[in-house]
Every structure is written in C-alpha cells, then in structure tokens.
C-alpha cells in the first residue's frame, strides 16, 4: 500500500540501464526523442535505425518485448488517428489497393505513427528500468523545483493509498454480499467515490502528520542518491549520440 516502491511499468533488474542514475536516463531520453522528432519524415530508414537502437537498449536492460508491446496500447488513439489521416486528408490522391488515399495524408499518418511510437517505446524503457525513488531523486538532481518533487512524491504515495483504500472498500462491499451486477449498482460505487476521496485524504493526512511528528521537514533524508560520474554520462549519451549520427547521415 504505502511506500510506493514500484509502479505499474517498473521491472526490477540489475542491468547497466537499471544502474544508470535516473537523471542521466531522463536527459538521454529527452535528447533522443528530440532527435527523432526533428528528423524529416521522408527519411524512412532513419526511423528503422532508431527502432533498432531502442531494441538494443531493451536487450541490454532485459525488458521483454511482451512488456513493451503491452504498454504500447497508450498510443492506440493516435494510431487510429494516423490510420485515418490518408482517408480524410486533402491533397493529391494515390490509389492503394483500390482505395483512393491522400498523398500528404499518408505522409502525415506515417509521421505521427513513426515518431509517436518511438517516443512511447523510449518512455516505456525509461519507466521499466527506473523505480519511483530513483526517479524522484533524479528529478531533484535535475533541479526540478522542490515543490513539484514534493507533490510528485505525495502523489505517488497517495496513488498507493487510494488503490489500497479502493481494494479495502471492494473487499468490505463484497464481504457483505454486494456484487455489481446491473447499472443501478453504479450509484453505490459512485457514492463510494466521494467518500473514497475524503477517506484517502484523511488517511494520507494522518501519515503526513506522523512524518511531521518524526521530524520530517520537506525532503526524505534517506533517498539522497549518489550523483552521476563521467562514465554514467558517457554511457547515457550513447543512445542520443547514435541517434544523432543516424540523423546526420540520413
């Protein structure tokens, strides 16, 4: 429940990617995605090369393809969008398999699909190899204002509290003979949602007060992690540098 050690996408491990400090990974990811976004869409093979680079990272980090693919559903909405593009766009048309498609639309769809997918996969890899504590410490190192980091850490803790309370409430409901069978029962659940908010808040509030009681003054004393050495930066730079080379060559 509380504590928030892991999160949905995190896959504990001890690969070189896991060990890289979180802030190095975040910067590397950002640089990589920037290069991808800046690559003109006609440079088709460059995107293939980027994909290979990411596959390499995934292999080093030992993140199974299954995990990556499963999470890629987040991009479903814009895949739909990308697929629609050639149909609804204006401009000169070409015939593909009997369909009259818009040429710029095809390009646009491809552009969204390629860049979006690479971005999502890169983020999945970051998420899969970075635990919450590491990420928060990394954000701190990246000079993200304390306030934001504090809100983020409370948020992650609360996500656990809310999930835990939701579970408790479900168990309590079912133990007393409740099963959501028809729509009328939605009211019970909805009524619960408001109570859940107050209840999780108050539970979290009490925990917060307990922290204050034990001398908490705004930052975790134990989460301070070591900074990144030159080797870390070099290792982290590999991905964006390789991507950069691809971009220039393409």
């Amino acid at each position: 429940m509380s504590g928030g050690h892991g999160h949905a996408l995190y896959r504990p491990g001890d690969s070189a990617v896991h060990r890289l400090p979180a802030h190095v990974k975040v910067l590397a990811l950002l640089a990589f995605v920037l290069v991808v976004v800046a690559t003109p869409r006609e440079h088709y093979w460059a995107f293939g090369a980027y994909a290979l680079l990411l596959a390499g990272v995934a292999a080093i980090a030992r993140v199974p393809a299954r995990v990556v693919v499963a999470r890629m559903v987040v991009e479903l909405p814009f895949v739909v969008f990308a697929l629609l593009m050639p149909v609804v766009s204006q401009g000169p048309r070409v015939d593909v398999l009997g369909l009259s498609l818009s040429e710029p639309g095809l390009l646009t769809g491809w552009n969204i699909l390629a860049k979006g997918t690479l971005g999502v996969v890169a983020s999945i890899l970051l998420a899969a190899t970075t635990d919450v504590r590491g990420l928060l410490a990394g954000l701190q190192r990246l000079r993200v204002p304390d306030r934001l980091v504090e809100i983020a850490s409370f948020m992650i803790r609360y996500a656990d509290v809310v999930a835990g309370d939701m579970r408790r409430m479900r168990i309590a409901r079912e133990s007393r003979g409740f099963q959501a069978r028809h729509l009328g029962h939605a009211r019970v659940v909805a009524q619960g949602a408001g109570a859940l908010f107050v209840r999780s808040y108050e539970r979290g509030e009490r925990v917060h007060l307990a922290m204050l009681s034990r001398g908490y003054a705004g930052s975790m004393p134990l989460t301070a992690t070591a900074g990144a050495g030159r080797a870390d930066w070099l290792r982290g730079a590999t991905l964006p540098l390789a991507a950069g080379v691809v971009a220039v060559l393409s």
């Binding site: 408790r168 309590a172 007393r176 003979g177 408001g194 109570a195 859940l196």
Partner: protein
Amino acid sequence: MIEVSLEVAGLAFAYPDGHQALFGVDLTIGRGERVALLGPNGAGKTTLVLHLNGILSGGVGTVRVGGLEVRPGDRDTLREIRRRVGIVFQDPDDQLFMPTVRDDVAFGPANLGLRGAELDARVSEALDLVGMGDVADRPPHHLSFGQRRRVAVATVLAMRPEILVLDEPTSNLDPASRRELHDVLDSLDVTQLVVTHDLPFALQLCPRSVVLSGGAVVADGATADVLGDADLLAAHRLELPYGFDPRSVAPGRP
C-alpha cells in the same frame, strides 16, 4: 454427530510477496459452537480468517462452509457463503466505507434484499446493540477508533450471519463496551469464531479454544484446559495477564 458449520482442511497459503503464512491448517467447527482462536502476533490468524469467505484464496487445501466449498471462481456460491459468514475485520477501517454510519450498517442487509421499515429496524437494532445509535448520521471515518470498531461489529450483526467471525473484537474498546460486547455475543445463538489476544475474554465467551502458531494448529481443546497448560502457553507467547485469576471465571458454556 453434530452438524459441521465450518471445515478447513490442509490449508496452506503464501502471500503474493512469497511470504508463507499458513502451513496446513485443519479445523472443524460444529454448528452453534463458539471457538476462540488464539496465537502470537504473526501466527496467521487473520490470514486464516480471510480464507473463510474467499477473500484470500489460491493456496492449497479446502475451506467448506456448511457443506459449500469456497472457490474463488464460483461467484454464486461465493455470494451465498458471504451471506452466511459475517467477518468483523481486525482493522475497522477495512470495514467501513459508506458516507454515514447508518448507510454503512444498512449496506449489508440492503444487499440481502431488505428495504424500507424493515431495513431501518434492522439498522437501529444493530446500532443499539453496540451502543452507537447516536452517531448514526456521522461519517464513520470521523469517529474515534473504538467507536469505529463498534460500528464495524454492528455492520456484521445487522446481516444476521449464520457464522460470525470476529478478528480482535475487543481491542480499543473501553471496558464497559468490552463487557457489553461479551453479553451481545453471548446472547447470539450462532456459530462463532473469535480471534483474540484477550485470554480472559476467550475464557468467558468460548468453551473451546484453538491455538494457531507458525501457521499451524498446535492445540485444540477446552479453553480452561488450554489456558491451564502453562507450557503450551509459554511456548506460543500466550500468558494470562498479571493479576488475573482464572478460577474466578465461570467459562462461557461447558
């Protein structure tokens, strides 16, 4: 032979994090019996209790309630079992979730199909039994801990279960409430399994006691005998409280 109300056979269970809590528990309770479940912290008492209506499952062994086997997949049977078995959780916060105490106590009976005046009567009756009639319109999470525990007991009493399972019902109760709870439970003619660290309470209420330790049953017998066995008690972190004279207490029912 007496009719069997609860039957646990060879139950072993590990939590998802790999920690094994039960190592083959066997326990049979006849209809109308009152049994105290004793044991040290971390013995697996709560884990066992949560198996009795299928909240935890997935280990080996079987649990039967009045002949019905508790199986996670079988929703209809599970519903029936949950109607029969009423559990008061160790942590009242696990039990209470509705916006007001009244709604919370009404929740169970309403699921059983009660409505209108009948429902109201059931709710007031249950709240009066635990002396919480006057907080009916407050939100449960704004009550004191002991008040929440009393409301938690009421939510289960209101369902009139055939089997009543209480996990540490006396903790955080003021002494008078503890006695009143004893009187309420004593007046109910249903099967009862009471988990408690309060040995005098166990002696007062339950003729039979089962000691769970390290995830297995290590003793099962008349409460007076179990509490009289100093070696057994000492081996499982049980002891009669300082100043308590077991001879002064007449055990619940012989």
